[in-house]
């Protein structure tokens, strides 16, 4: 495609030709051509499930392609495992850090390739070499330090150092910035630039489009397993990237807000926190989307989990549709019409080894019983309907849940709780780790639910979501409420100000 028209004179180090890889039910990578040059940063973007991770895993020897060739330095290679790929000069800096937390920096960097002196491991040599490599990327870190307590950013540097020991020609960064702050990202970029000067080919994968635009020389966009476009970065801006990723522009992402909130308070809560010794009171109207904001870790999680009967550090009393209720455990909370979308879908949301049907039906099995037996037909019908409504991409409802991609998994959690037909839906970070397209679908779904009269309480750490989807926003700081914003008052400035405010609006109202 456009690659041939690229006139830059840099030497091609990697050529992937006609790569195809299918998993049961999905064609993950479909006839992809991908080229990397020395001294170039190649950005790779796409929604979750677009096939970029699979492509990189093929390059890293973790998956084996069904079809297609990998050519490194004009030599055709076939990787059967990671070691093969490493030997051919491919290094991967993983998204999930692959370090052993109880070992030292030096031990981690030289894991498996110990320097030896007369059959014994030569620790001094390993420490010296580690120091050298760390110096090369300008990181001041004692090689003897234990990795576990280091901040994420430094762990990442160790990870990079570890990859560099192999002296790779192609280095893949898989979502390296998702856990980093802005300054840390800058530091990482300095290192990447240095590697680039040393004539390495770098593949940079990220959901953060600004950063991709900042660091890349060439950008490839993937969608549904295919390459949509490969062009020099000058061609792109953020909107163009999103457009080629999802076929929509960013400004259209949020649905319209409610025009008029109904008057009936369906849910009121009064909760005392033992940790902060503070009380919180609020109510939610039918059809209202209420956001809980504030800095991270100000008691929002504990508060919202206690609504569902989780955790024990809160003394929470609830009135739901006029009934008084103390949430003791999830079973009781579900009976009262409360649902909770947990923050971490992998540990709290999805039974990864169970089928899609079992997952979606799990919370509502007792609703479909007839003389003790589950009505299978009804269950399948309900599951089929909800899968269609949420446009979850599946092959069969007997498919194992772990075979789905991140966005589809999040929809699976939503499907499970939608079947429970809740009156109040609590959502913790409902769009965490999903791509732009799925985010938009989730926002739309939240609004539809609200329009059907469900009261929705959302905790999200993304400011833009608070502003974009919530009808009202409560801001919490150190366990108490510092602001109650609605309509035009919901602005970034006001939310930030309230996040650090020390005025408890409940006490203020009393005085």
């Amino acid at each position: 495609m456009n690659l041939n028209t690229n006139t830059s004179t840099k030497e091609i180090v990697l050529k992937m030709e006609g790569i195809k890889k299918s998993f049961p039910g999905t064609l993950a990578v479909d006839d992809v051509n991908f080229i990397c040059k020395k001294g170039e940063v190649h950005g790779l973007v796409g929604e979750n499930g677009a096939g970029k991770s699979t492509l990189m895993k093929i390059l890293g020897g973790i998956h084996i392609q069904d079809k297609g060739n990998i050519i490194i330095n004009s030599e055709e290679k076939r990787f059967n495992n990671y070691a093969d790929a490493r030997e051919s000069g491919v290094g991967i800096v993983y998204q999930e850090l692959s370090l052993l937390p109880d070992l030292s920096v030096a031990e981690n960097i030289f894991m498996g390739i110990w320097a030896k002196k007369k059959r014994f491991i030569d620790w001094d040599e390993i420490k010296r070499k580690s120091k050298n490599i760390l110096d090369k990327i300008n990181i001041k870190l004692d090689p003897e330090e234990i990795v576990g307590p280091l901040p994420v950013a430094l762990k990442q540097m160790v990870e990079i150092a570890k990859v560099l020991t192999q002296n790779p020609e192609i280095i893949i960064f898989d979502e390296p910035t998702s856990a980093l702050s802005r300054e840390e990202v800058d530091r990482l970029f300095k290192i990447i630039k240095k590697l680039k000067e040393n004539n390495k080919a770098i593949i940079f994968i990220s959901h953060r489009l600004k950063e991709v635009l900042e660091i890349s020389d060439v950008i490839t966009v993937m969608k549904d397993g295919k390459v949509v476009i490969t062009r020099e970065k000058e061609y792109f801006d953020e909107d163009k990237l999103i457009l080629s990723m999802v076929g929509r522009e960013f400004s259209q992402i949020f649905p319209d807000k409610a025009t008029k909130i109904k008057e009936d308070k369906i849910f009121s809560l009064r909760s005392f926190s033992e940790k902060y010794k503070t009380e919180v009171k609020f109510s939610v109207h039918k059809g209202e989307v209420l956001g809980i904001g504030g800095l991270q870790g100000q008691g929002q999680f504990e508060l919202l989990q206690s609504i569902f009967g989780l955790g024990s550090k809160m003394d929470t009393k609830i009135i739901i549709s006029g009934r008084h209720f103390i949430p003791k455990n999830p079973t009781k909370a579900i009976k009262e019409g409360i649902s909770l979308i947990p923050e971490d879908r992998n540990t709290e949301g999805i039974f990864l080894i169970l089928s899609i049907l079992h997952n979606i039906a799990a919370a509502t099995v007792d609703k479909r019983k007839n003389i003790g037996l589950i009505e299978m037909k009804k269950e399948k019908q309900e599951v089929r309907d909800i899968v269609r409504n949420l446009s979850i991409k599946i092959v069969s409802h007997n498919q194992i849940a772990s075979s789905l991609s991140g966005g589809n998994l999040q929809k699976l959690v939503l499907a499970k709780w939608l079947l429970a037909k809740p009156k109040v839906m609590v959502m913790l970070e409902p769009t965490k780790g999903v791509d732009v397209g799925t985010k938009q679908q989730i926002y739309k779904l939240i609004r539809e639910l609200a329009d059907q009269g469900v009261a929705i309480i959302i905790y999200t750490s993304e400011m833009i979501e608070l502003i974009g989807i919530c009808d009202r926003v409560l801001v919490m700081n150190q366990g108490f409420l510092t602001a109650n914003l609605s309509g035009n008052e919901i602005t970034e400035e006001k939310i930030m100000k309230a996040s650090v405010s020390n005025i408890n609006i409940l006490e203020e109202a009393k005085e």
Binding site: I64, D66, K67, F308, L310, N329, P330, T331, A333, I334, K335, L340, P342, T347, E348, G349, I350, F351, L352, I353, L354, H358, A361, A362, A363, V365, D366, K369, G372, L373, I374, M376, S396, N398, K416
Partner: protein, 336 residues
Amino acid sequence: MKESQQKIRLYFPIYIVVIIIYVIAGIIEPRFFTWNNNVNLFTRITPLILAGMAQTFVILTGGIDLSIGSIIGLTNVIAASLPYINTPLNIILWFLIPPIVGFGVGVINGYFISKKELPPLIVTLATSAIWLGVTLYIMPIPGGTVSLSVALTITGRLFNVIPVPLLIIISSVLIGHSVLGKTEFGRSLYAIGGNELIAYESGIPCEKYKILVYGVSGLLGSFAGMFLSGWMFSADPIIGEPYVLNSIAVAVIAGTALSGGKGGVVGIIGGAYIFYLLNNILNLLGITAFYQYIAKGLVLIIALVISSPDASKILQNFKNKVLYSKNKELGEIGRD
């Protein structure tokens, strides 16, 4: 349609193994195919199938029941110690008391595992010792007897044709299968084994079902104990011991993952068959005991490898490799 296909694929390998062993046995010794020999086999595998089902239910939740052997022994001894004169009351008691004991003993396991959050391995090992002690106290050496009509019914034939053990096998596996698939209890076992935290947050009463599943295990164990007493016409306090590990092996051969959340009872008959067919052949061949043990171990490993989920993966990889080399050849031809 798809669902049934998937299940067939899952249980296919194990029944293939059974058929292979069966045919080999028949070729070696034609008497093997006689109806009488087969009826004899049904009788032999019935207790193992019941114990394997008990174990499967528990393993599905991620637990294990090492006390199943002692429960079989205890209920076996109780069944042979009850009054054996043929009166309606005696027969009702015979059918009621062992199951109640088995269920109750199982619930005690469940209580410690669920409410006290103790590890199932240790809890059932401990209670296993206790119930073995109690059993030996009731009946230190083999003895006792059961009502003749009960014994004849259990191992007899319905309408003089259909062997009762076969009926027990088929009906218990069918019931077990629908309990697992169609009841809230069965469904919850998979959820608990899949991830107990998520099960709890999905509103599934995990505590209750975990107690219940050990109760059910004890109940099935008591059925095995009763069957053994009817078959042997007496009791043996240590009759249950071999069933502890054999029941686990059968459950795993039948496709249940020891980590929980995956499996079922449809493969159990095949699993139990593999166990006894082998004994049967080796005996018919007159092979000495130590070779028998070695052969049994080897066949178990082979059965496990064939029925494990990895087997299909290995097959798939093999196919891929063949396809790859073919593609390459084709590609080269194309270039010419």
